[in-house]
């Protein structure tokens, strides 16, 4: 009942905060948001963790609706994980939002506070919905509040309403698809209740299953940003205020992934490998397209948005792999795949929120997000830079940070495909693995570029503008998330067993035994592992820490089956210790011993003897990514327009103007038609609502209601 209390606390905190925000003057909005937002986030975390700790699912039927059945809320282990993560993200995000609210990010503070808290509530409700109706209602509320939040924050005028509308239109299209999917499921089950649907879904025909899969996959995929329905995402992120965009990236993005996982792995476990393969392929493509765009763009927010798309791709690829393993009856690899995907999803929430905090602060201080105009920020904001660096290291999947662990797991999952029987499936896995590896490499390029061009080197624009270190309201949230990134990187052997129960029902097996062998346990517990194996690992020191650390061990181990006797082992914990010892040792040996008598002199960088190195003489972000762009061009063939202006005669040039128009085939073949179709729909809708928000919201709800009514009619037959 603890869980229930926490949920009630969460909802009432959101409500109370919203009421206070309406009642109190403008100057107080920041503190209201900080206090109630943080408390609500804590309540959310507690609700999630109490479920995780007790290991018991929580189910609470609410009221009965005529003809629609019972509305239910429930928290199973999967929802609990999402709740916990959302709480962990919303906590720092509230501090950040309130701090930037006070610093003028938003003009209408109370409206923003109300909407943001409402959005929190909606997000929480999506996770705890126990039946299709509550789920869809919460989802719809979430969509509308997101839209209103983008529109309400009038930081920059042009294009904002448009982007918000695009977000809503896309979200609505996705929602309608998902509703249809749900209805198909519900029709099969005769009930909207999740448990009922789950019980009957195995009996569905394959055509129906495909329909449900495609509708929900792409329907929820809109929210997550899957190719080809991802073009709205960078635009929405750039339009959203810096106070709000971390929530968008860290919390609402996860909803789409939750939807996909809930339906296609939870409610309707795969019986056929094909949908899983579709998910795998789409995920890999999404990852590649996302990172390529991210690497070649110069707007920090756009880069991060495309990088979100990339990470969503990795997560979905993991889901797909899990679905294939489930369908082919390999429960343990399936569990590993789901754990990997879930782990990466969590990591992405942490580091992406962290990075958006950093970008928000940079934008606030410098007035620009263009990497070509930034540079040298480390001199002015060393602490914020440090936290941002943690974020970039994590997102680049470098040990000992969290991104490394989940990407390692994901790539290992791909290697497990050797156990599958079909050669075609193996090939798809191999290609996906290669694609993901390429993605990982490009991600490093991308974020080396972001960090180097933004924070190192010389300042390129507004050299005289005063810059300050970020304030506590920004630094605290950044460091909270940086600590989480490091923690989730250092201690995967504690995270994996926590995630394992959440995915066990989806996969039919637990991953913790397979991934985290109990090297800390005394002998009998090792029975699952061959004794020589254990001995070898003990000789390597896998039991170090046994006497003073709880848990199963510090080594993540990945073992193929009998027919595939390979072993992959990794321990970021030991790695970190070794790194510290090695680097520290090197420092001691070189600096304190070998060169202790030498005076260190610091010299300016060597600049070729030039009189003064100017900022415009340093490498730009465009220049840095040019090799990637050139490779990209060979595939995508942009059109370059060059125009040379001359004075006096044709040999005196005054300007060389060069414009690159990139119409990528992906754009041409997929985005443009989809966008055109959607805009047509949107225009029709716009015509209907004649530019007035509330009317539009009514229409959207009416559409939802109409679908439900159709369902009612069908159900009452």
């Amino acid at each position: 009942m603890m869980t229930q209390a926490f949920i009630i606390a969460f909802l009432s905190l959101c409500g109370a905060g919203a009421l206070l925000a309406v009642a109190m003057p403008r100057t107080r909005q920041g503190s209201i948001l900080a206090v109630t937002g943080c408390l609500a986030a804590i309540a959310l975390m507690l609700a999630g963790s109490s479920t995780l700790i007790s290991g018991e699912n929580f189910l609470q039927p609410l009221w009965e609706l005529p003809n629609l059945g019972r509305m239910t809320i429930g928290i199973d282990q999967l929802s609990a994980v999402f709740l916990l993560v959302t709480g962990l993200v919303l906590f720092p995000a509230s501090i950040f939002a309130s701090s930037h609210l006070e610093r003028g990010a938003i003009s209408n503070g109370s409206l923003f506070t109300v909407l943001l808290l409402a959005l929190y509530a909606a997000i929480g409700l999506v996770f705890i919905a126990g039946d299709a109706l509550s789920f869809l209602l919460a989802w719809e509320a979430m969509s509308i509040f997101s839209y209103l939040l983008i529109v309400a924050s009038r930081q920059q005028e042009d294009g904002k309403a448009n982007s918000g509308f695009l977000l809503l239109a896309m979200g609505e299209a996705g929602t309608l698809a998902a509703v249809l999917g749900f209805l198909l499921l519900a029709a099969g089950a005769g009930s909207l209740d999740f448990s009922a649907i789950q019980g009957t879904s195995p009996g569905l025909g394959s055509g129906l299953r495909w329909a449900v899969f495609l509708l929900t996959f792409f329907g929820f995929g809109v929210k997550a940003g899957l190719v080809p329905v991802n073009f709205w995402l960078p635009r929405a992120y750039t339009a959203a205020s810096r106070a709000f965009v971390p929530v968008l990236a860290g919390a609402t993005l996860n909803l789409g992934l939750y939807g996909i996982l809930r339906v296609n792995a939870g409610l309707m476990p795969a019986t056929d490998a094909a949908p899983g393969l579709v998910a795998l392929v789409i995920g890999t493509l999404t990852a590649l397209v996302g990172i390529l765009y991210a690497t070649t763009d110069n707007d920090l927010k756009v880069i991060l948005a495309h990088s979100s798309i990339e990470n969503v791709g990795i997560v979905v690829a993991g889901f797909g792999a899990g679905m294939v393993f489930v369908a082919t009856n390999h429960p343990i690899p399936a569990a590993i795949a789901f754990v990997a995907a879930l782990y990466h999803l969590i990591n992405h929430s942490f580091f992406k929120t962290l990075l958006f905090f950093g970008v928000g602060e940079v934008e606030k201080q410098t007035g620009t997000r263009d990497l070509n105009n930034l540079g040298g920020l480390i001199k002015w904001m060393p602490l914020a830079t440090l936290a941002f660096l943690v974020g970039t290291l994590s997102i680049s999947a470098l040990p000992p940070f969290n991104g490394f662990v989940s990407e390692w797991l994901t790539l290992q999952t791909m290697l497990r495909s050797t156990e599958l029987s079909s050669a075609a499936v193996k090939l798809v896995f191999a290609l996906a693995g290669a694609g993901l590896a390429l993605t990982a490499a490009l991600a490093v390029t991308c974020f080396v570029r972001v960090f180097a061009m933004g924070f190192l080197g010389m300042r390129r624009l507004n050299e005289n503008r005063q810059l300050l270190e970020a304030r506590a309201g920004t630094l605290a949230p950044m460091f909270i998330l940086a600590a989480l990134c490091l923690g989730f990187g250092l201690l995967p052997t504690y995270v994996i067993p926590t995630l394992s129960p959440a995915v066990a029902p989806l996969a039919g097996a637990s991953a913790s035994d397979a991934l985290v062998p109990p090297f800390f346990a005394s002998d009998p517990a090792h029975s699952a592992l061959p004794s020589t194996f254990v001995k070898d690992f003990h000789d390597l020191g896998a039991q170090i820490g046994q006497s003073f650390l709880p848990g199963r061990g510090l080594v993540v181990l990945h073992r193929g089956g009998e027919e595939n006797p390979v072993v992959f082992a990794m321990s970021t914990s030991y790695m970190a210790v070794a790194l510290i010892v090695l680097l520290g040792g090197t420092y001691v040996v070189i600096r304190l011993w070998l060169t202790r008598r030498r005076k260190l002199r610091q010299r300016k960088r060597w600049d070729g003897g030039i009189r003064r190195l100017l900022p415009e003489m340093t490498y730009t972000a465009t220049g840095f990514s040019n090799p990637v762009r050139v490779v990209f061009d060979a595939v995508f063939r942009p059109t370059t327009v060059e125009d040379t202006r001359e004075t006096v005669t044709r040999h005196f040039r005054t300007a060389i103007l060069r414009e690159q128009e990139r119409t990528h085939p992906v754009d041409k073949l997929v985005f443009h038609p989809v966008r055109a179709a959607l805009l047509r729909v949107a225009r029709a809708l716009a015509y209907l609502h004649q530019g007035r928000l509330n009317t539009y919201a009514t229409y959207a709800l009416a559409a939802l209601a109409a679908v439900l009514v159709m369902y009612l009619i069908q159900a009452s037959w």
Binding site: R603, K604, W606, D607, G609, I610, R611
Partner: protein
């Protein structure tokens, strides 16, 4: 690429015997005037004819300040009593500023070559050092583009105004221990450019020079000797025996 390998082998070894033995080929050095005893009239004639005031008469002896000789040959061509001329090439001299250098390097050295306004010939002679005839790599000498890796700074040219800041930056960028070799009369005294308002009278005005190599331009072997002196592998020579007083008082 095998034809090139064969061609290379066919060419055989061209490398100079120097520094182990003397180089005897013709045309490797333009030589230098040397101090000598002369009758007063002839000595006066030399003092008058030399455009860069190389000669001074001290106690009836014609003294030579090799730091100033620009190889115009007017003291040997078309005069009745030519100056004494010596076709040596070991011209590495310890700078007046730094006497009794201690060897600073034990192993191979990296050389940063800087052009401070030379006429192209000094630099061309430095370029020859990498050709098979001189092949300084066999001696563990390497040319490096960046002062950060350099041990020795080899400067040619008089030190133009536009280059002086760069010269200082380069000198500062070289880690210690370091040696500066100034090659060519322009680097030592400004040569024909000394009186220009855009040139220093040699880079000695800008940098602390350790080893000086006269000549306009110094032939590759002379530069090589200067480098060997800087590396502490050859003793410096004294090109003006007994004339240190004259140097100290100047003209």
């Amino acid at each position: 690429m095998s034809p090139w390998v064969i061609k290379g082998i066919r060419t055989g070894i061209k490398t100079s015997a120097y520094p182990r033995n003397a180089e005897t080929a013709a045309g490797v050095t333009p030589g230098l005037p040397v101090s000598s005893q002369m009758d007063t009239g002839a000595a006066r004639a030399l003092v008058d004819i030399c455009p860069t005031q190389v000669f001074t008469i001290i106690n009836g002896r014609v003294n030579v300040d090799v730091d100033r000789c620009i190889h115009c040959y007017r003291c040997v061509r078309g005069v009745e009593q030519p100056a004494r001329w010596d076709s040596t090439y070991e011209w590495g001299v310890e700078s007046n500023q730094k006497k009794n250098l201690l060897p600073a390097f034990r192993k191979s050295i990296n050389i940063c070559v800087v052009d401070a306004g030379d006429c192209g010939s000094c630099l061309n002679e430095v370029r020859q050092l990498s050709s098979p005839y001189y092949n300084i790599h066999r001696l563990g000498f390497f040319i490096t583009p960046t002062p950060r890796h350099a041990d020795v700074l080899l400067v040619v040219g008089p030190g133009t105004d536009h280059m002086s800041l760069a010269l200082q930056k380069i000198y500062n960028a070289i880690p210690t221990p370091k040696r500066v070799v100034a090659a060519g009369v322009c680097a030592l005294s400004g040569g024909v450019f000394a009186e220009s308002f855009t040139c220093s009278e040699g880079v000695t005005d800008i940098l602390p020079v350790d080893v000086e190599v006269p000549g306009n331009p110094p032939p590759p072997l002379a530069i090589l000797h200067g480098l060997l002196v800087a590396a502490g592998r050859k003793p410096p020579v004294d090109l003006q025996p007994g004339s240190s007083q004259a140097n100290a008082t100047g003209e």
